[in-house]
Symmetry: C3
Subunit: 500 residues, 3 copies
């Protein structure tokens, strides 16, 4: 064979490589997973197809751990021998720790868990699981449903209401409603109620009967007792880092008027450029190289991902699944923004009025539950170290100065609303906190909630994410907050007039 022929063959292979899908390597499936796929590719073709697109289907843990430190996507030190040299298939995940899973069941001769918990993912990703457990998110279920103030709010929002003879009565809660409202994001508690036989196309089989299912909330209580759901962000069964890094994932729970992070992002300069260019970025690269793989940050860039210099060599910021390591403030979901809580589990917090809140009704934080000014500055510094790759120091400092000002100003505005509400309570125009009754089931109480849960939150997000104009002013912003103050004041005047 002569030179030109060889050259031609090289060319041919180049063409094939560049124009056709990459030739599939022989997948090292475990026998068990092969058996799963035999049936499930027929009855759940969508699940199997998703998994086939996943990295899990293409690499073994042994190969994954040999990547360089910066390229590595797993964090285990040791792993069971039988998992080492097969790709991560159905059986490899659904058969883990079955002894701890109350949802484990016999399935065609295997013990299988219906639900995968963070503890199962920890077999390959222990660092990420551990970090995640330090987030408020991992306690999103408990911090909501076990807190008396939020219980009161949930009850007034979700429970059946009955109007009769001038009164509205709030009835007992409805679990199905809770699951698809607050707990959709906060996570449900999944309990095994028993087992049932079901006729399938492969004969009669037994399955667990679950309460609180389906659910992928971030603070889900799993049948093995663990907290969280990795698939909340790492969407099953593709578990795509690309999807997790795009802001659409965060938007699932961070878009509403109570936490309009995605909306603010969309109208920010960052969001504008993202929407315009994201199909040209490389969202699958690890480490994630600034300027090379992406030009503007998404949520993940600033809060989670391992970011490096364009050449992939200098670490700008380490990967973390403990997102609060760069969060100095708790901005939303509370009557007043306050320094970030020290711990994710807020079951023991209490203010001077005995309420399970980290703030007093006058807006002061309860210091022993929140991080120090020093820790705040440390966290700000970490965040700023990301901003500074594309912005000058005066730009970045100007930005953070405004945020602190906005926190102060919005807290002060909410305080004025609190004072008006307290006059309602003091005059007995409305029954609430001082009367040991709900603080959320009268119009004036809801007006008060709007000032912080919607408007102050929006304003603070607009500030924190440089989303500027609209969400800071006219879209649930300062305009609405001040209007609500005027309305509350007028309602108070009216009540006083009617009393005379």
């Amino acid at each position: 064979m002569r030179f030109t022929s060889i050259l031609s063959l090289i060319l041919l292979s180049l063409i094939i490589t560049s124009n056709y899908p990459v030739k599939k390597q022989e997948l090292k499936l475990s026998d068990e997973t092969q058996e799963c796929i035999n049936c499930h590719s027929v009855i759940h073709p969508g699940i199997v197809a998703s998994w086939e697109k996943s990295r899990h289907s293409k690499i073994t843990p042994e190969d994954a751990i040999t990547k360089t430190k910066l390229e590595r996507r797993v964090s285990f030190t040791t792993i069971e021998e039988k998992l080492k040299n097969v790709v991560v298939g159905c059986y490899e995940c659904h058969s883990l720790n079955t002894e701890k899973h109350s949802d484990a069941f016999e399935h065609n001769g295997y013990k299988i868990n219906l639900i995968i918990s963070p503890n199962d993912c920890a077999v390959c990703h222990p660092t990420e699981t551990n970090e995640y457990s330090k987030n408020l998110m991992s306690f999103a279920h408990s911090n909501l449903v076990e807190n008396k103030v939020y219980q009161d709010l949930m009850r007034s929002v979700n429970n059946p209401h009955k109007y009769d003879k001038g009164k509205i009565e709030i009835k007992d809660s409805n679990k199905l409603t809770d699951y698809e409202s607050c707990l959709y994001c906060h996570g449900s508690k999944i309990e095994v109620k028993g087992f049932e036989n079901r006729e399938t196309q492969f004969g009669e089989l037994t399955f667990p009967v679950l309460e609180g299912w389906p659910n992928q909330g971030v603070g889900r209580i799993n049948p093995d007792g663990s907290r969280g759901s990795c698939s909340a962000c790492h969407t099953r069964h593709e578990f795509s880092i690309e999807i997790a890094r795009k802001p659409y994932t965060c938007a699932e729970c961070h878009k509403g008027p109570d936490v309009p992070a995605f909306k603010v992002y969309e109208v920010s300069k960052h969001g504008n450029i993202f929407s315009s260019e994201y199909h040209k970025y490389n969202f699958d690269q690890v480490p994630w190289r600034i300027g090379k793989d992406f030009s503007v940050p998404t949520c993940a860039t600033c809060h989670i991902s391992l970011i490096t210099s364009p050449d992939g060599k200098e670490v700008i910021v380490e990967r973390t699944h403990q997102m609060n390591d760069r969060l100095s403030w708790r901005l939303f979901g509370v009557p007043y923004a306050h320094p970030h809580p020290i711990k994710p589990n807020l079951s023991d917090v209490k203010n001077s009025a005995g309420l399970p809140l980290i703030v007093e009704l006058n807006g002061e934080p309860v210091n022993k539950f929140v991080i120090s000014r020093e820790e705040q500055e440390k966290r700000n510094s970490l965040m700023k170290s990301i901003c500074l790759n594309c912005h000058s120091k005066s730009w970045v400092n100007g930005h953070f100065e405004r945020l602190e000002n906005t926190i102060k100003e919005t807290n002060a505005l909410t305080l004025q609303a609190t004072k008006i509400l307290q006059e309602f309570w003091a005059n007995g125009f409305t029954k609430g906190l001082p009367h040991n009754q709900s603080s959320f089931d009268e119009k004036i109480e809801r007006d008060w909630v709007s000032t912080w849960l919607y408007y102050a939150n929006s304003i603070r997000f607009a500030s924190a994410m440089a989303g500027g104009g609209d969400y800071g002013v006219f879209a649930d912003g300062r305009y609405q907050l001040t209007e609500k103050l005027y309305e509350m004041k007028e309602m108070l005047e009216l009540r006083k007039k009617l009393k005379k």
Copy 2:
């Protein structure tokens, strides 16, 4: 020629094929269409360019009908000889059934229709036209403007208002306003008012003068008496199945607070993945292969398209343009959700109070107008057969159980609002239904409308589409619905106090 040369030529052709646009086949244009294009490519280059991108410009009906059953995009059995072997150009569509078209006019020696109606499209797509006519959508114009209750609502929303001496008077309707408000989606009635001569760059020409034009609403009444506008979804002149299958098309009319389907989709897991990955999907493939052409459903996937297994061989669900064959409930636009109506034409419905509604004011459906429980379950089964390709049975059943619960609960909440409104009416605080006056032109009446038209609708959509958190709670959801109840109750108290 030697081997290497041949190889090189093969390579060259490979490169050309893969790197350059596909070589255009000779288009079989009719002479008439060629004549249209001669002028219109100059005066309407955008229209001609769109059409050139369309499938219509690239295939003849004869070729289209010879595709395999699953690949076929046309449904005729016979077709006129002259249409068979030319591509579907300007003349082929705009010259159809001119005898039925009051908008037909002489144009350069040809009889041309300005508007294409579903009956014209039926020449090649009779099955789709026939199915579509069985949807509520095809009666969207008539069911709105010929219904006394909705007429009353339209009047209070669209008509000019005049304030004088403490009173608001509603004036006569303004057609131009109606066209660009309700009828934008519901469809206008297009009438030919006459013909006029216009000076054009090709000399003086005659054109029909149309009332209600432009319009592409789904229930448009066409100048040939037919109902609907295929271009509402199959955007002219590309008629792209890709566009119709993406949710942006449905969002044109299903995004507002009265029907936030797209908003809910966007924050659902399905919508998240769609936004992240849709540029990698194949939206042009027929049949549409689950897991292969797409990973998550769009509106079209569950409601309309022919879906098959990944290999394109097993039909999962048949194509339908009668979308209600998998809709068991009518969720929105009505005071109470109720089982789906039996017929699309609602001109004869009446409840026990004589109102043209399918529900009583207490929320009970009028049984003779709605489908049976049995039929509902049949339709649910069809829908579930799609879900089950990616979700387990317990997941899917859990989802549908919640939806039924939500329908019950939201109807019950609206009922409480109705009871308060009825006390307003009974006490004469507001004139409405019992006084034979508008039920929509007072604040308290609008509050009542909000409970169902906005909040209950949003909650039900969030439930139906697993869009969870925000639209079920804080974004026009349960929070707002209960707040509205508290407000209505308080307004009633106030009125009673003032009466004393």
Copy 3:
């Protein structure tokens, strides 16, 4: 070397060209820019990487000006010799007109401006700068903060509020708040407060201390006295025409409820197709060819860009940065829509009541400040000449007829709200305009503002952009406007009753 070998080499080069990034041409960097990059690629890798993707980094002014008239992106006639033959790097922009820049500072031996102003961009783009200066946008800062009516509005929205003993007091303004609310879009006034030394990784350096920074608002007052910020739309440091042409850029400031242009676009037919297809369009082409580079218009298509026929030869509409040359009406931000102002600087406008507004309180425009009917028709004609490439004359005329109707109808609705508000003022129920007090700090006043700033604006945008249904009716549209009228009327009744 034989034929086949040569062929193979040609093939190889073809493959490389088509499959690998374009071979970088030798960049003709100035020595100064090279010096900037040496440090800043380390400390600001994101900025440098963005610039490397820009056209500025790839072409010299000399090459840019030799393009054909239609392909040209620069508009200078002469340029300094030293700028001619180097690409447009850091130093080329940041060293311009330093004598006029109060933010100029010594930096490693060079005189550098921190901020680039439109006057600096004018070195290569004088036509664009000159045109832009004729827009209302260039006076967005001054027309807001120097206008007494808008000052009053800003004060009631942004300033700290204090509630005490039944009264709300509005405190002095907070600059940091203003910067991130109204001025985020309108532009801040940037002032140099002095200079400071900062320790950097390259030793101690001096930097200017800026007030009002960061800011990229469209009417920014720059340290050289000029108005505007080109980077508001031409995002630094990529300055991508692609980004500027996509609607996400405009959405940064035109999405909120006061100006929902982007929201309306999204649900319009144009927006639907854009969302579906935009990744297939060519947004980088100059001139921009209708039907070839894009199928549907974005904001830029109708308002700014040079558009040609598909073959790139016939000019459909010239490029303009004076967007009002096709704007016949001022639709938003004012109590009543009115013909477009004659001049961008509105500092001398005054109505018959002495208010700095172009309209009377009864909705009549003050004729001497607005363009004539004739000029309006001229501007409409220019806009229609774009529409007509894809729509028939009857379609386009029908569209514009509806817009004029909608302007008339929404102005009339706002007038009814004004009449109710005036009764509040006349009866002394609320202090406002006639009492020389704020017109924006009572609930009823805000209700009035809602009728025009939110609802009438939304309705007009829905009409102007054929965005139809929702934003014209249920999404801050006619439904909300009429509801607000009912509410205002009822509040007036209540006040009258309480007075008795």
